[in-house]
Amino acid sequence: MPQHDIGAAVQSRDLGMAKITALSWRAGAAGVAVAGLLTVVLAHHPAAGTVPAGHRDDHGSILIPAQPPSQAPGAGQVTSGSS
């Protein structure tokens, strides 16, 4: 291959690599931004506002019970209804 063709090929390769590197950086930066955005959005989603039983979080979560209610026969000791 003539010398000037080799030089042109090397120049083209370097140019291509530079473009790929720039694109990779932009894609990476966009990924970081999207991940950050998703973190913020999901943190504010009501369904995300719960924590496992036994954890107390006064700031950001509805606390689920340590165990769900159990069925019992007969009357109750108290009544839960609207007042």
């Binding site: 509805i62 689920i64 209610p69 009544t79 209804g81």
Partner: protein
């Protein structure tokens, strides 16, 4: 040490019925004293019907920053937390909407007034929204923007039940159940067979009323319903659970929702939000892992997240 003997005290507070149960008979008087002191403090902080309450003074402050007590600070913080966790479905700035519906005095007086027009009439539109409440928790000051008027009815009673149960258990060392108008909080060591609660529409219904009996050993259980705190206005039936997006009573597919949670406050937050959300509440409660029992207007029942099987014929 606990025994299966449970002692009871019943009294009136916040315009409703309170029930105290303790697992050691000798401490019921002490438990009542603790509850009386706490409930009086909370009533003075947040009653909408007392002109001398902090809430009444704040609502009349015309948007000026107002210094407040630590109790009222906590009550507002709890209400704002409930609003945040429900995406604004449980909103404390519904005071003007309730007044517009005639709920401007103690509920017994509202019901007695029949169809008489309220002092402020007409629809008020969407509520200003909880983000209009500027609370400086550390500095104990609050400011209401854009004409917001507070009503803490959705969270204050449940929070009061939690605080009473917690303090009574701490000071007496026994198991305790506190029910304030059907908002139930328990603390300490429960009885051997746990606490038995009849879940129904009306907290004042007899314990054999249509519904379901369940047991809990910790946390809280609350029920919200459109059927009890309801009255007529201009010939139409209205109730006290406000949809913040309209400022009107929520038009829900559920007549009653009961939820068990880690605290009574959280249970009430979820049950109130479920009424406002309507059909979408089923998925929300399921995803949140909150055991709940939802009753439609025709009496059919749905349950979520481990709430025990309900005999379909038992709810109507």
């Amino acid at each position: 040490m606990t025994t299966s003997a449970v002692t009871r005290d019943t009294f009136e507070v916040f315009g409703t019925t309170a029930v105290l149960l303790v697992t050691r008979p000798g401490v019921i008087g002490q438990a009542r004293s603790i509850a009386d002191r706490l409930l009086a403090e909370i009533d003075l902080a947040c009653s909408r019907f007392r002109p001398d309450s902090e809430l009444s003074r704040l609502n009349a402050a015309g948007g000026e920053p107002t210094p407040i007590s630590s109790t009222f600070t906590d009550l507002i913080a709890v209400a704002l937390r409930a609003a945040r966790l429900t995406g604004g479905d449980v909103d404390p700035t519904c005071g003007r909407a309730l007044t517009g519906l005639g709920y401007d005095r103690d509920f017994a007086d509202v019901r007695a007034a029949g169809d008489a027009p309220p002092r402020l009439t007409g629809p008020v539109g969407p509520v200003p929204g909880w983000t209009r409440v500027q609370l400086d928790r550390g500095g104990r000051r609050v400011r209401l923007e854009h004409g917001a008027q507070l009503d803490l009815g959705a969270t204050a009673k449940a929070w009061a039940a939690d605080k009473c149960a917690e303090q009574i258990a701490d000071r007496t060392g026994c198991g305790v159940l506190v029910s304030l108008g059907g908002d139930v909080a328990v603390a300490g060591q429960p009885p051997p067979d746990d606490w038995r609660i009849r879940v129904t529409d009306d907290h004042a219904a007899p314990q054999w009323a249509a519904g379901q009996t369940v047991t809990i050993s910790s946390g809280g259980l609350a029920t919200s319903s459109t059927t009890v705190r309801a009255w007529t206005l201009g010939g139409r039936k209205v109730h006290h659970i406000i949809d913040p997006s309209t400022g009107e009573p929520a038009r829900s597919c559920w007549r009653t929702v009961s939820v068990a949670a880690g605290t009574c406050t959280d249970a009430n937050t979820a049950s109130t939000a479920a009424i406002v959300r309507g059909a979408a509440a089923l998925d929300w409660l399921h995803d949140a892992g909150l055991p709940a029992r939802l009753v439609r207007h025709d009496g059919t029942v749905e349950t979520t997240a481990g709430w025990p099987y309900d005999d379909p014929g038992d709810a109507a």
